[in-house]
Amino acid sequence: MRNILWVQFKTSLAVNLQYRAANLIWLLGAVLEPLIYLVVWDTVANVQGGSVGGYTRSDFAAYFLAQMVVGRLTFTWIMWEYEYFIRDGTLARRLMRPLHPIWVDVADNLAYKMFIVVVLIPVTILLIFFFQPALQTGWLDLVAFLPALLLAFVLRFCVEWALAMAAFWTTRINAINQVYFVVFLFFSGQLAPLDLLPGFAQTLANVLPFRWMLAFPIEVLLGRLSAQEIVLGCAIQLGWIAVAVAMLLWAWRSGVKQFSAVGS
Protein backbone atom coordinates (compact mmCIF):
# COMPACT_ATOMS: atom_id res chain seq x y z
CA MET A 1 0.00 0.00 0.00
CA ARG A 2 2.83 2.37 0.85
CA ASN A 3 4.38 1.68 -2.53
CA ILE A 4 1.10 2.35 -4.36
CA LEU A 5 0.69 5.67 -2.55
CA TRP A 6 4.27 6.61 -3.26
CA VAL A 7 3.97 5.92 -7.01
CA GLN A 8 0.59 7.68 -7.07
CA PHE A 9 2.20 10.63 -5.28
CA LYS A 10 5.04 10.77 -7.80
CA THR A 11 2.54 10.64 -10.66
CA SER A 12 0.50 13.47 -9.15
CA LEU A 13 3.65 15.49 -8.63
CA ALA A 14 4.56 14.95 -12.30
CA VAL A 15 1.09 16.14 -13.34
CA ASN A 16 1.41 19.20 -11.08
CA LEU A 17 4.79 20.00 -12.56
CA GLN A 18 3.35 19.59 -16.03
CA TYR A 19 0.92 22.37 -15.20
CA ARG A 20 3.35 24.53 -13.26
CA ALA A 21 2.32 27.78 -14.98
CA ALA A 22 -1.37 27.14 -14.31
CA ASN A 23 -0.53 26.18 -10.72
CA LEU A 24 1.41 29.40 -10.22
CA ILE A 25 -1.57 31.42 -11.45
CA TRP A 26 -3.82 29.53 -9.03
CA LEU A 27 -1.33 30.29 -6.30
CA LEU A 28 -1.30 33.96 -7.24
CA GLY A 29 -5.08 34.02 -6.77
CA ALA A 30 -4.72 32.22 -3.48
CA VAL A 31 -2.13 34.74 -2.24
CA LEU A 32 -4.15 37.72 -3.41
CA GLU A 33 -7.33 36.71 -1.60
CA PRO A 34 -6.03 36.97 1.98
CA LEU A 35 -4.05 40.05 0.97
CA ILE A 36 -7.26 41.76 -0.14
CA TYR A 37 -8.94 40.93 3.20
CA LEU A 38 -5.80 42.23 4.90
CA VAL A 39 -5.91 45.54 3.03
CA VAL A 40 -9.62 45.96 3.86
CA TRP A 41 -9.16 45.25 7.59
CA ASP A 42 -5.99 47.33 7.67
CA THR A 43 -7.97 50.28 6.28
CA VAL A 44 -10.78 49.75 8.79
CA ALA A 45 -8.25 49.56 11.65
CA ASN A 46 -6.57 52.70 10.42
CA VAL A 47 -9.86 54.61 10.33
CA GLN A 48 -10.79 53.35 13.82
CA GLY A 49 -7.59 54.70 15.33
CA GLY A 50 -5.24 51.76 14.81
CA SER A 51 -7.22 48.70 15.96
CA VAL A 52 -10.52 46.82 15.63
CA GLY A 53 -11.78 44.60 18.43
CA GLY A 54 -8.27 44.29 19.87
CA TYR A 55 -6.64 43.55 16.50
CA THR A 56 -3.96 46.06 15.56
CA ARG A 57 -2.83 46.55 11.98
CA SER A 58 0.14 44.25 12.47
CA ASP A 59 -2.14 41.68 14.16
CA PHE A 60 -4.25 41.64 11.01
CA ALA A 61 -1.08 41.28 8.93
CA ALA A 62 -0.05 38.27 11.03
CA TYR A 63 -3.54 36.73 10.86
CA PHE A 64 -3.96 36.96 7.11
CA LEU A 65 -0.41 35.88 6.29
CA ALA A 66 -0.90 32.84 8.51
CA GLN A 67 -4.25 32.32 6.82
CA MET A 68 -2.59 32.38 3.44
CA VAL A 69 -0.26 29.56 4.48
CA VAL A 70 -2.81 27.47 6.39
CA GLY A 71 -5.46 28.04 3.73
CA ARG A 72 -3.18 26.75 0.98
CA LEU A 73 -2.07 23.74 2.99
CA THR A 74 -5.58 22.64 3.99
CA PHE A 75 -7.42 23.53 0.80
CA THR A 76 -8.86 20.81 -1.45
CA TRP A 77 -10.60 21.00 -4.84
CA ILE A 78 -12.32 17.64 -4.54
CA MET A 79 -15.84 19.06 -4.52
CA TRP A 80 -15.27 20.79 -7.84
CA GLU A 81 -13.64 17.75 -9.37
CA TYR A 82 -16.17 15.05 -8.65
CA GLU A 83 -19.01 16.57 -10.62
CA TYR A 84 -16.79 16.31 -13.67
CA PHE A 85 -15.47 12.85 -12.73
CA ILE A 86 -18.91 11.35 -12.46
CA ARG A 87 -20.35 13.08 -15.52
CA ASP A 88 -17.37 12.37 -17.76
CA GLY A 89 -16.72 8.79 -16.69
CA THR A 90 -13.30 9.35 -15.13
CA LEU A 91 -14.76 7.79 -12.02
CA ALA A 92 -15.52 4.61 -13.95
CA ARG A 93 -11.82 4.37 -14.75
CA ARG A 94 -10.94 4.75 -11.09
CA LEU A 95 -13.58 2.22 -10.07
CA MET A 96 -12.06 -0.41 -12.32
CA ARG A 97 -8.74 -0.28 -10.49
CA PRO A 98 -8.10 -2.41 -7.42
CA LEU A 99 -7.58 0.70 -5.27
CA HIS A 100 -10.13 2.86 -3.48
CA PRO A 101 -10.41 6.17 -5.37
CA ILE A 102 -9.91 8.19 -2.18
CA TRP A 103 -6.24 7.21 -2.16
CA VAL A 104 -5.73 8.87 -5.52
CA ASP A 105 -7.12 12.08 -4.02
CA VAL A 106 -4.94 11.71 -0.92
CA ALA A 107 -1.84 11.39 -3.11
CA ASP A 108 -2.99 14.21 -5.39
CA ASN A 109 -3.52 16.57 -2.48
CA LEU A 110 -0.24 15.74 -0.81
CA ALA A 111 1.62 16.20 -4.11
CA TYR A 112 -0.05 19.56 -4.72
CA LYS A 113 0.85 20.69 -1.22
CA MET A 114 4.42 19.59 -1.68
CA PHE A 115 4.62 21.58 -4.89
CA ILE A 116 2.94 24.62 -3.38
CA VAL A 117 4.99 24.70 -0.18
CA VAL A 118 8.17 25.21 -2.18
CA VAL A 119 6.71 28.34 -3.72
CA LEU A 120 4.82 29.45 -0.63
CA ILE A 121 7.85 29.71 1.66
CA PRO A 122 9.71 32.45 -0.25
CA VAL A 123 6.45 34.32 -0.92
CA THR A 124 5.60 34.27 2.79
CA ILE A 125 9.07 35.46 3.81
CA LEU A 126 8.80 38.30 1.33
CA LEU A 127 5.37 39.30 2.63
CA ILE A 128 6.51 39.11 6.28
CA PHE A 129 9.26 41.53 5.41
CA PHE A 130 6.79 43.83 3.67
CA PHE A 131 3.84 43.79 6.13
CA GLN A 132 5.77 43.52 9.42
CA PRO A 133 3.22 41.28 11.16
CA ALA A 134 3.05 41.04 14.95
CA LEU A 135 4.21 37.49 15.76
CA GLN A 136 4.06 36.24 19.34
CA THR A 137 4.65 32.62 18.42
CA GLY A 138 6.35 30.61 21.15
CA TRP A 139 8.19 27.38 20.41
CA LEU A 140 5.33 25.43 22.01
CA ASP A 141 2.91 27.10 19.60
CA LEU A 142 5.10 26.06 16.72
CA VAL A 143 5.16 22.47 17.94
CA ALA A 144 1.39 22.46 18.51
CA PHE A 145 0.80 24.07 15.14
CA LEU A 146 1.88 20.96 13.21
CA PRO A 147 -0.75 18.54 14.57
CA ALA A 148 -3.39 21.30 14.48
CA LEU A 149 -2.58 21.94 10.81
CA LEU A 150 -2.50 18.25 9.93
CA LEU A 151 -5.82 17.56 11.67
CA ALA A 152 -7.35 20.61 9.98
CA PHE A 153 -6.33 19.23 6.60
CA VAL A 154 -7.59 15.72 7.37
CA LEU A 155 -10.90 17.15 8.59
CA ARG A 156 -11.40 19.40 5.58
CA PHE A 157 -10.39 16.62 3.21
CA CYS A 158 -12.86 14.15 4.72
CA VAL A 159 -15.75 16.62 4.93
CA GLU A 160 -15.27 17.82 1.37
CA TRP A 161 -14.78 14.31 0.02
CA ALA A 162 -18.03 13.23 1.66
CA LEU A 163 -19.87 16.29 0.29
CA ALA A 164 -18.40 15.68 -3.15
CA MET A 165 -20.28 12.37 -3.16
CA ALA A 166 -23.47 14.41 -3.63
CA ALA A 167 -22.47 14.36 -7.30
CA PHE A 168 -23.73 10.78 -7.36
CA TRP A 169 -27.28 12.02 -6.86
CA THR A 170 -27.29 15.34 -8.68
CA THR A 171 -25.37 16.54 -11.68
CA ARG A 172 -25.70 20.13 -10.47
CA ILE A 173 -23.39 19.85 -7.51
CA ASN A 174 -22.04 23.37 -8.07
CA ALA A 175 -25.07 24.84 -6.29
CA ILE A 176 -24.22 22.79 -3.19
CA ASN A 177 -20.56 23.80 -3.47
CA GLN A 178 -21.51 27.44 -3.61
CA VAL A 179 -23.55 27.26 -0.40
CA TYR A 180 -20.80 25.32 1.35
CA PHE A 181 -18.10 27.82 0.42
CA VAL A 182 -20.16 30.84 1.52
CA VAL A 183 -20.78 29.25 4.92
CA PHE A 184 -17.13 28.25 5.07
CA LEU A 185 -15.98 31.77 4.23
CA PHE A 186 -17.85 33.18 7.20
CA PHE A 187 -17.46 30.52 9.89
CA SER A 188 -13.95 29.30 9.15
CA GLY A 189 -12.23 32.62 9.82
CA GLN A 190 -11.40 33.14 6.18
CA LEU A 191 -13.16 36.50 5.92
CA ALA A 192 -12.23 37.82 9.36
CA PRO A 193 -10.74 36.55 12.62
CA LEU A 194 -13.55 34.75 14.44
CA ASP A 195 -13.27 36.86 17.62
CA LEU A 196 -14.44 39.85 15.58
CA LEU A 197 -17.78 38.13 14.89
CA PRO A 198 -20.83 38.91 17.06
CA GLY A 199 -21.25 36.63 20.11
CA PHE A 200 -23.85 34.23 18.68
CA ALA A 201 -21.84 33.79 15.49
CA GLN A 202 -18.75 32.98 17.56
CA THR A 203 -20.69 30.34 19.46
CA LEU A 204 -21.93 28.93 16.19
CA ALA A 205 -18.40 28.93 14.77
CA ASN A 206 -17.22 26.87 17.74
CA VAL A 207 -19.98 24.35 17.22
CA LEU A 208 -19.64 24.03 13.46
CA PRO A 209 -16.66 22.18 11.95
CA PHE A 210 -15.33 25.07 9.83
CA ARG A 211 -13.27 26.82 12.52
CA TRP A 212 -11.40 23.57 13.07
CA MET A 213 -10.45 23.42 9.40
CA LEU A 214 -8.84 26.85 9.18
CA ALA A 215 -9.00 29.38 12.03
CA PHE A 216 -7.85 27.01 14.76
CA PRO A 217 -4.36 26.26 13.38
CA ILE A 218 -3.95 29.97 12.59
CA GLU A 219 -4.80 30.90 16.18
CA VAL A 220 -2.35 28.27 17.43
CA LEU A 221 0.41 29.58 15.19
CA LEU A 222 -0.17 33.16 16.26
CA GLY A 223 0.07 32.22 19.95
CA ARG A 224 -3.50 33.31 20.68
CA LEU A 225 -4.53 30.12 22.52
CA SER A 226 -3.59 28.66 25.88
CA ALA A 227 -2.18 25.14 26.13
CA GLN A 228 -5.53 23.98 27.45
CA GLU A 229 -7.40 25.52 24.53
CA ILE A 230 -4.99 23.89 22.10
CA VAL A 231 -5.51 20.42 23.58
CA LEU A 232 -9.28 20.89 23.62
CA GLY A 233 -9.19 22.16 20.04
CA CYS A 234 -7.26 19.13 18.81
CA ALA A 235 -9.74 16.87 20.61
CA ILE A 236 -12.62 18.65 18.86
CA GLN A 237 -10.82 18.24 15.55
CA LEU A 238 -10.46 14.50 16.19
CA GLY A 239 -14.15 14.29 17.11
CA TRP A 240 -15.18 16.02 13.90
CA ILE A 241 -12.83 13.80 11.89
CA ALA A 242 -14.58 10.74 13.30
CA VAL A 243 -17.95 12.21 12.25
CA ALA A 244 -16.60 13.12 8.81
CA VAL A 245 -15.12 9.66 8.22
CA ALA A 246 -18.42 8.02 9.13
CA MET A 247 -20.22 10.42 6.79
CA LEU A 248 -17.69 9.73 4.05
CA LEU A 249 -18.02 5.96 4.31
CA TRP A 250 -21.79 6.16 4.21
CA ALA A 251 -21.84 8.64 1.31
CA TRP A 252 -19.40 6.55 -0.70
CA ARG A 253 -21.21 3.27 -0.20
CA SER A 254 -24.65 4.57 -1.02
CA GLY A 255 -23.29 6.84 -3.74
CA VAL A 256 -21.54 4.07 -5.62
CA LYS A 257 -24.66 1.94 -5.34
CA GLN A 258 -26.61 4.84 -6.83
CA PHE A 259 -24.03 5.28 -9.58
CA SER A 260 -23.99 1.63 -10.49
CA ALA A 261 -27.76 1.47 -10.37
CA VAL A 262 -28.22 4.37 -12.74
CA GLY A 263 -25.23 4.01 -15.01
CA SER A 264 -22.28 6.09 -15.94
Binding site: N3, V7, T11, A14, V15, Q18, M96, R97, S260, G263
Partner: protein, 336 residues
Protein backbone atom coordinates in the same frame (compact mmCIF):
# COMPACT_ATOMS: atom_id res chain seq x y z
CA UNK B 1 -16.70 -15.49 -1.18
CA UNK B 2 -13.87 -17.29 -2.89
CA UNK B 3 -14.49 -18.66 -6.34
CA UNK B 4 -14.58 -22.44 -6.50
CA UNK B 5 -13.22 -24.66 -9.25
CA UNK B 6 -16.50 -24.90 -11.11
CA UNK B 7 -16.51 -21.13 -11.38
CA UNK B 8 -13.01 -21.09 -12.77
CA UNK B 9 -14.20 -23.38 -15.53
CA UNK B 10 -16.66 -20.77 -16.70
CA UNK B 11 -14.87 -17.42 -16.70
CA UNK B 12 -18.01 -15.51 -17.71
CA UNK B 13 -21.44 -16.85 -16.76
CA UNK B 14 -24.45 -14.73 -17.55
CA UNK B 15 -27.81 -16.04 -16.37
CA UNK B 16 -31.11 -14.30 -17.11
CA UNK B 17 -29.34 -10.97 -16.73
CA UNK B 18 -31.48 -7.85 -16.65
CA UNK B 19 -30.82 -4.16 -16.39
CA UNK B 20 -33.68 -1.72 -16.14
CA UNK B 21 -33.07 2.02 -16.30
CA UNK B 22 -35.62 4.43 -14.90
CA UNK B 23 -35.64 7.43 -17.20
CA UNK B 24 -37.60 10.66 -16.80
CA UNK B 25 -40.15 11.30 -19.54
CA UNK B 26 -41.57 14.69 -20.37
CA UNK B 27 -43.54 15.97 -23.27
CA UNK B 28 -42.30 18.99 -25.18
CA UNK B 29 -43.50 22.49 -24.30
CA UNK B 30 -43.58 24.91 -21.38
CA UNK B 31 -46.74 23.39 -19.92
CA UNK B 32 -45.11 19.97 -19.68
CA UNK B 33 -41.99 21.54 -18.19
CA UNK B 34 -44.07 23.20 -15.46
CA UNK B 35 -46.05 20.05 -14.76
CA UNK B 36 -42.80 18.12 -14.43
CA UNK B 37 -41.83 20.42 -11.54
CA UNK B 38 -44.69 19.00 -9.52
CA UNK B 39 -44.79 15.46 -10.75
CA UNK B 40 -41.96 13.72 -12.52
CA UNK B 41 -43.00 10.96 -14.83
CA UNK B 42 -40.58 8.16 -15.28
CA UNK B 43 -40.50 5.13 -17.46
CA UNK B 44 -38.65 1.87 -16.96
CA UNK B 45 -36.57 0.82 -19.91
CA UNK B 46 -35.02 -2.63 -20.05
CA UNK B 47 -31.59 -2.11 -21.57
CA UNK B 48 -30.78 -5.77 -21.06
CA UNK B 49 -33.58 -8.28 -20.85
CA UNK B 50 -33.08 -11.86 -19.67
CA UNK B 51 -29.81 -12.57 -21.41
CA UNK B 52 -28.00 -15.84 -20.72
CA UNK B 53 -24.72 -17.11 -22.09
CA UNK B 54 -21.53 -18.76 -20.88
CA UNK B 55 -18.03 -18.20 -22.15
CA UNK B 56 -15.51 -21.00 -21.89
CA UNK B 57 -11.88 -20.47 -20.84
CA UNK B 58 -9.64 -19.02 -23.59
CA UNK B 59 -12.62 -18.33 -25.82
CA UNK B 60 -12.89 -15.13 -27.83
CA UNK B 61 -16.52 -14.23 -28.26
CA UNK B 62 -17.84 -11.39 -30.42
CA UNK B 63 -20.71 -9.49 -28.88
CA UNK B 64 -22.78 -7.96 -31.64
CA UNK B 65 -25.75 -5.70 -31.85
CA UNK B 66 -26.68 -2.28 -33.20
CA UNK B 67 -26.23 0.89 -31.13
CA UNK B 68 -28.40 0.78 -28.03
CA UNK B 69 -28.77 -3.01 -28.12
CA UNK B 70 -27.41 -3.34 -24.58
CA UNK B 71 -23.86 -4.47 -25.34
CA UNK B 72 -22.06 -1.81 -23.31
CA UNK B 73 -24.55 -2.18 -20.45
CA UNK B 74 -23.84 -5.92 -20.36
CA UNK B 75 -20.07 -5.32 -20.42
CA UNK B 76 -20.41 -2.79 -17.60
CA UNK B 77 -22.36 -5.29 -15.50
CA UNK B 78 -19.79 -7.99 -16.21
CA UNK B 79 -16.92 -5.71 -15.25
CA UNK B 80 -18.57 -4.43 -12.08
CA UNK B 81 -19.47 -0.88 -13.02
CA UNK B 82 -23.20 -1.52 -13.00
CA UNK B 83 -25.43 -3.40 -10.63
CA UNK B 84 -27.76 -5.85 -12.40
CA UNK B 85 -31.50 -5.31 -11.89
CA UNK B 86 -32.11 -9.03 -12.10
CA UNK B 87 -30.51 -12.35 -12.93
CA UNK B 88 -26.85 -12.87 -12.35
CA UNK B 89 -23.46 -12.46 -13.87
CA UNK B 90 -20.40 -14.20 -12.46
CA UNK B 91 -16.91 -13.56 -13.71
CA UNK B 92 -14.12 -15.90 -12.54
CA UNK B 93 -16.53 -16.86 -9.81
CA UNK B 94 -16.94 -13.33 -8.44
CA UNK B 95 -19.97 -11.07 -8.29
CA UNK B 96 -18.54 -8.22 -10.38
CA UNK B 97 -20.49 -5.36 -8.73
CA UNK B 98 -18.82 -6.08 -5.41
CA UNK B 99 -15.59 -5.00 -7.13
CA UNK B 100 -13.35 -7.05 -4.86
CA UNK B 101 -9.69 -6.38 -5.28
CA UNK B 102 -8.95 -9.98 -6.33
CA UNK B 103 -11.61 -9.68 -9.02
CA UNK B 104 -10.48 -6.30 -10.37
CA UNK B 105 -6.88 -7.53 -10.48
CA UNK B 106 -7.83 -10.32 -12.87
CA UNK B 107 -9.96 -8.50 -15.40
CA UNK B 108 -9.72 -5.50 -17.65
CA UNK B 109 -12.20 -3.28 -19.41
CA UNK B 110 -11.08 -1.38 -22.49
CA UNK B 111 -13.45 1.17 -23.90
CA UNK B 112 -12.32 2.45 -27.27
CA UNK B 113 -13.72 5.91 -26.69
CA UNK B 114 -12.43 6.36 -23.14
CA UNK B 115 -8.85 6.83 -22.11
CA UNK B 116 -7.49 5.03 -19.09
CA UNK B 117 -4.02 6.49 -19.12
CA UNK B 118 -3.03 9.75 -17.45
CA UNK B 119 -3.40 12.44 -20.06
CA UNK B 120 -0.51 14.69 -19.09
CA UNK B 121 2.39 12.40 -18.36
CA UNK B 122 4.37 9.96 -20.50
CA UNK B 123 2.96 6.45 -20.99
CA UNK B 124 5.87 4.95 -19.10
CA UNK B 125 4.87 6.88 -15.93
CA UNK B 126 1.26 5.76 -16.33
CA UNK B 127 2.44 2.18 -16.69
CA UNK B 128 4.58 2.45 -13.54
CA UNK B 129 1.49 3.67 -11.71
CA UNK B 130 -0.68 0.84 -13.06
CA UNK B 131 1.97 -1.74 -12.15
CA UNK B 132 1.98 -0.41 -8.58
CA UNK B 133 -1.81 -0.21 -8.30
CA UNK B 134 -2.22 -3.76 -9.63
CA UNK B 135 0.64 -4.94 -7.42
CA UNK B 136 2.52 -6.48 -10.37
CA UNK B 137 5.87 -7.86 -9.11
CA UNK B 138 8.76 -5.80 -10.60
CA UNK B 139 10.28 -8.71 -12.55
CA UNK B 140 6.94 -9.65 -14.08
CA UNK B 141 6.24 -6.00 -14.88
CA UNK B 142 9.54 -5.63 -16.74
CA UNK B 143 8.93 -8.80 -18.70
CA UNK B 144 5.32 -7.99 -19.59
CA UNK B 145 6.18 -4.45 -20.61
CA UNK B 146 8.99 -5.70 -22.79
CA UNK B 147 6.68 -8.19 -24.48
CA UNK B 148 3.98 -5.60 -25.03
CA UNK B 149 6.51 -3.07 -26.28
CA UNK B 150 7.78 -5.54 -28.86
CA UNK B 151 4.39 -6.79 -29.98
CA UNK B 152 2.87 -3.34 -30.32
CA UNK B 153 6.05 -1.43 -31.21
CA UNK B 154 5.63 0.97 -28.34
CA UNK B 155 9.27 1.91 -27.82
CA UNK B 156 9.14 5.38 -29.43
CA UNK B 157 5.84 6.20 -27.68
CA UNK B 158 6.75 5.40 -24.09
CA UNK B 159 8.39 8.72 -23.33
CA UNK B 160 5.71 10.90 -24.94
CA UNK B 161 2.87 12.43 -22.93
CA UNK B 162 -0.39 10.68 -23.84
CA UNK B 163 -2.02 13.87 -25.07
CA UNK B 164 0.65 14.21 -27.77
CA UNK B 165 -0.08 10.79 -29.27
CA UNK B 166 -2.23 10.18 -32.32
CA UNK B 167 -5.45 8.24 -31.87
CA UNK B 168 -3.88 5.02 -33.16
CA UNK B 169 -0.77 5.40 -31.03
CA UNK B 170 -2.89 6.14 -27.99
CA UNK B 171 -5.03 3.07 -28.53
CA UNK B 172 -1.93 0.87 -28.70
CA UNK B 173 -0.74 2.37 -25.43
CA UNK B 174 -4.20 1.99 -23.88
CA UNK B 175 -4.36 -1.68 -24.83
CA UNK B 176 -0.89 -2.30 -23.43
CA UNK B 177 -1.82 -0.46 -20.21
CA UNK B 178 -4.95 -2.57 -19.86
CA UNK B 179 -2.92 -5.77 -20.08
CA UNK B 180 0.06 -4.96 -17.85
CA UNK B 181 -1.45 -6.95 -14.99
CA UNK B 182 -2.05 -9.91 -17.33
CA UNK B 183 -5.80 -10.11 -16.86
CA UNK B 184 -7.52 -13.45 -17.32
CA UNK B 185 -10.70 -11.93 -18.65
CA UNK B 186 -10.80 -9.03 -21.13
CA UNK B 187 -13.89 -6.97 -21.84
CA UNK B 188 -13.24 -4.95 -24.95
CA UNK B 189 -15.78 -2.36 -26.04
CA UNK B 190 -14.99 -1.16 -29.55
CA UNK B 191 -11.22 -1.48 -29.12
CA UNK B 192 -10.54 -0.45 -32.73
CA UNK B 193 -13.01 2.42 -33.06
CA UNK B 194 -11.72 5.30 -35.16
CA UNK B 195 -8.50 3.53 -36.12
CA UNK B 196 -7.26 3.12 -39.67
CA UNK B 197 -7.22 -0.30 -41.30
CA UNK B 198 -3.54 -0.97 -40.62
CA UNK B 199 -3.86 -0.11 -36.95
CA UNK B 200 -7.05 -2.16 -36.64
CA UNK B 201 -5.21 -5.12 -38.08
CA UNK B 202 -2.28 -4.60 -35.73
CA UNK B 203 -4.51 -4.48 -32.63
CA UNK B 204 -6.45 -7.49 -33.83
CA UNK B 205 -3.31 -9.56 -34.43
CA UNK B 206 -2.04 -8.53 -31.03
CA UNK B 207 -5.23 -9.61 -29.26
CA UNK B 208 -5.05 -12.96 -30.97
CA UNK B 209 -1.44 -13.45 -29.86
CA UNK B 210 -2.29 -12.39 -26.31
CA UNK B 211 -5.15 -14.88 -26.23
CA UNK B 212 -2.93 -17.71 -27.52
CA UNK B 213 -0.06 -16.92 -25.18
CA UNK B 214 -2.00 -16.40 -21.97
CA UNK B 215 -5.21 -18.33 -22.56
CA UNK B 216 -7.20 -15.25 -21.60
CA UNK B 217 -10.94 -15.17 -22.19
CA UNK B 218 -12.14 -12.26 -24.32
CA UNK B 219 -15.56 -10.74 -24.84
CA UNK B 220 -15.42 -8.13 -27.55
CA UNK B 221 -17.84 -5.73 -29.14
CA UNK B 222 -17.02 -4.10 -32.44
CA UNK B 223 -18.76 -2.43 -35.29
CA UNK B 224 -16.03 -3.66 -37.59
CA UNK B 225 -16.94 -7.11 -38.77
CA UNK B 226 -13.32 -7.63 -39.79
CA UNK B 227 -12.45 -7.63 -36.07
CA UNK B 228 -15.08 -10.24 -35.36
CA UNK B 229 -14.20 -12.41 -38.35
CA UNK B 230 -10.52 -12.36 -37.52
CA UNK B 231 -10.89 -13.09 -33.81
CA UNK B 232 -14.15 -14.78 -32.96
CA UNK B 233 -15.33 -18.23 -33.85
CA UNK B 234 -18.41 -17.61 -31.79
CA UNK B 235 -20.71 -14.62 -31.63
CA UNK B 236 -23.49 -13.56 -29.30
CA UNK B 237 -25.97 -11.25 -31.00
CA UNK B 238 -28.36 -9.08 -29.02
CA UNK B 239 -30.99 -6.63 -30.13
CA UNK B 240 -33.27 -4.45 -27.98
CA UNK B 241 -31.68 -6.04 -24.92
CA UNK B 242 -32.64 -9.60 -25.89
CA UNK B 243 -30.53 -12.47 -27.12
CA UNK B 244 -31.00 -13.12 -30.82
CA UNK B 245 -28.30 -15.62 -31.59
CA UNK B 246 -25.50 -17.47 -29.83
CA UNK B 247 -23.28 -19.74 -31.86
CA UNK B 248 -20.65 -20.00 -34.57
CA UNK B 249 -20.03 -17.14 -36.91
CA UNK B 250 -20.71 -19.37 -39.92
CA UNK B 251 -23.94 -20.57 -38.36
CA UNK B 252 -25.09 -16.98 -38.14
CA UNK B 253 -24.82 -16.65 -41.89
CA UNK B 254 -26.49 -20.03 -42.29
CA UNK B 255 -29.38 -19.08 -40.06
CA UNK B 256 -30.02 -15.53 -41.09
CA UNK B 257 -29.11 -15.35 -44.73
CA UNK B 258 -31.54 -16.77 -47.25
CA UNK B 259 -29.19 -16.00 -50.13
CA UNK B 260 -25.84 -17.01 -51.54
CA UNK B 261 -23.61 -15.26 -54.01
CA UNK B 262 -22.46 -17.01 -57.21
CA UNK B 263 -19.42 -15.40 -58.82
CA UNK B 264 -18.71 -16.39 -62.41
CA UNK B 265 -15.95 -15.63 -64.89
CA UNK B 266 -17.17 -16.04 -68.47
CA UNK B 267 -14.69 -17.78 -70.77
CA UNK B 268 -15.52 -15.42 -73.65
CA UNK B 269 -15.73 -12.24 -71.63
CA UNK B 270 -18.71 -9.96 -72.37
CA UNK B 271 -19.50 -12.00 -75.51
CA UNK B 272 -20.63 -14.87 -73.31
CA UNK B 273 -23.45 -12.95 -71.61
CA UNK B 274 -26.75 -14.81 -72.26
CA UNK B 275 -29.02 -13.10 -74.77
CA UNK B 276 -31.95 -13.03 -72.37
CA UNK B 277 -29.86 -11.38 -69.62
CA UNK B 278 -29.36 -12.76 -66.12
CA UNK B 279 -32.97 -12.56 -64.99
CA UNK B 280 -33.49 -16.30 -65.42
CA UNK B 281 -30.63 -17.11 -63.01
CA UNK B 282 -30.59 -14.50 -60.27
CA UNK B 283 -30.16 -10.87 -59.29
CA UNK B 284 -26.98 -9.19 -60.57
CA UNK B 285 -25.18 -7.46 -57.73
CA UNK B 286 -21.92 -6.75 -59.50
CA UNK B 287 -20.91 -6.77 -63.16
CA UNK B 288 -17.48 -6.01 -64.51
CA UNK B 289 -16.90 -7.15 -68.09
CA UNK B 290 -17.08 -10.93 -68.07
CA UNK B 291 -17.07 -11.15 -64.26
CA UNK B 292 -20.52 -11.30 -62.74
CA UNK B 293 -21.87 -11.74 -59.20
CA UNK B 294 -25.36 -13.08 -58.83
CA UNK B 295 -27.51 -13.25 -55.73
CA UNK B 296 -29.59 -16.42 -55.58
CA UNK B 297 -31.93 -18.01 -53.04
CA UNK B 298 -30.06 -20.47 -50.88
CA UNK B 299 -32.21 -23.51 -51.68
CA UNK B 300 -31.91 -22.84 -55.42
CA UNK B 301 -28.13 -22.47 -55.42
CA UNK B 302 -27.32 -26.00 -56.59
CA UNK B 303 -29.91 -25.98 -59.38
CA UNK B 304 -28.85 -22.56 -60.67
CA UNK B 305 -25.17 -23.49 -60.54
CA UNK B 306 -25.97 -26.56 -62.65
CA UNK B 307 -27.91 -24.50 -65.18
CA UNK B 308 -25.18 -21.87 -65.41
CA UNK B 309 -22.55 -24.51 -66.11
CA UNK B 310 -24.76 -26.22 -68.67
CA UNK B 311 -25.94 -23.08 -70.47
CA UNK B 312 -22.81 -20.94 -70.54
CA UNK B 313 -19.14 -21.26 -71.25
CA UNK B 314 -17.65 -20.58 -67.86
CA UNK B 315 -13.97 -20.23 -66.94
CA UNK B 316 -14.48 -20.09 -63.19
CA UNK B 317 -17.38 -20.33 -60.75
CA UNK B 318 -17.48 -19.88 -56.97
CA UNK B 319 -20.35 -19.98 -54.53
CA UNK B 320 -19.93 -17.62 -51.57
CA UNK B 321 -21.81 -16.65 -48.47
CA UNK B 322 -22.77 -12.99 -48.49
CA UNK B 323 -20.41 -10.68 -46.53
CA UNK B 324 -21.00 -11.03 -42.82
CA UNK B 325 -21.80 -7.37 -42.21
CA UNK B 326 -24.50 -7.56 -44.85
CA UNK B 327 -26.01 -10.50 -43.00
CA UNK B 328 -25.84 -8.74 -39.65
CA UNK B 329 -27.43 -5.66 -41.14
CA UNK B 330 -30.27 -7.79 -42.47
CA UNK B 331 -30.74 -9.50 -39.12
CA UNK B 332 -31.22 -6.20 -37.34
CA UNK B 333 -33.32 -4.68 -40.09
CA UNK B 334 -35.68 -7.64 -40.00
CA UNK B 335 -36.28 -7.33 -36.24
CA UNK B 336 -39.15 -5.13 -35.10
Amino acid sequence: MAPDEADQECPVCVEKLRKVYRVPVREAGVGAALRSLVKRNTKDIAAVNDISFRIEPSEIVGFLGPNGAGKTTTLKMASGLLHPSGGSVRVLGYEPWQRRREFLSQITLVMGNRNQLEWDIPCQDSYDLLAAVYRVPPAQYRQTLEELTNLLELEPLLSKPVRNLSLGERMKCEVAGALLHRPKVLFLDEPTIGLDVTMQRRIRAFLKTYNQRTGATILLTSHYMADVEALCKRVVVIHHGSLLYDGGLSGLVEQFSAYKTIAIDLADGRAGIPAGGWGAYGEVIEEDGGTIKLRVRKQETAAITGRLLADLSIADLTVEDPPIDEVIEKVFASQP
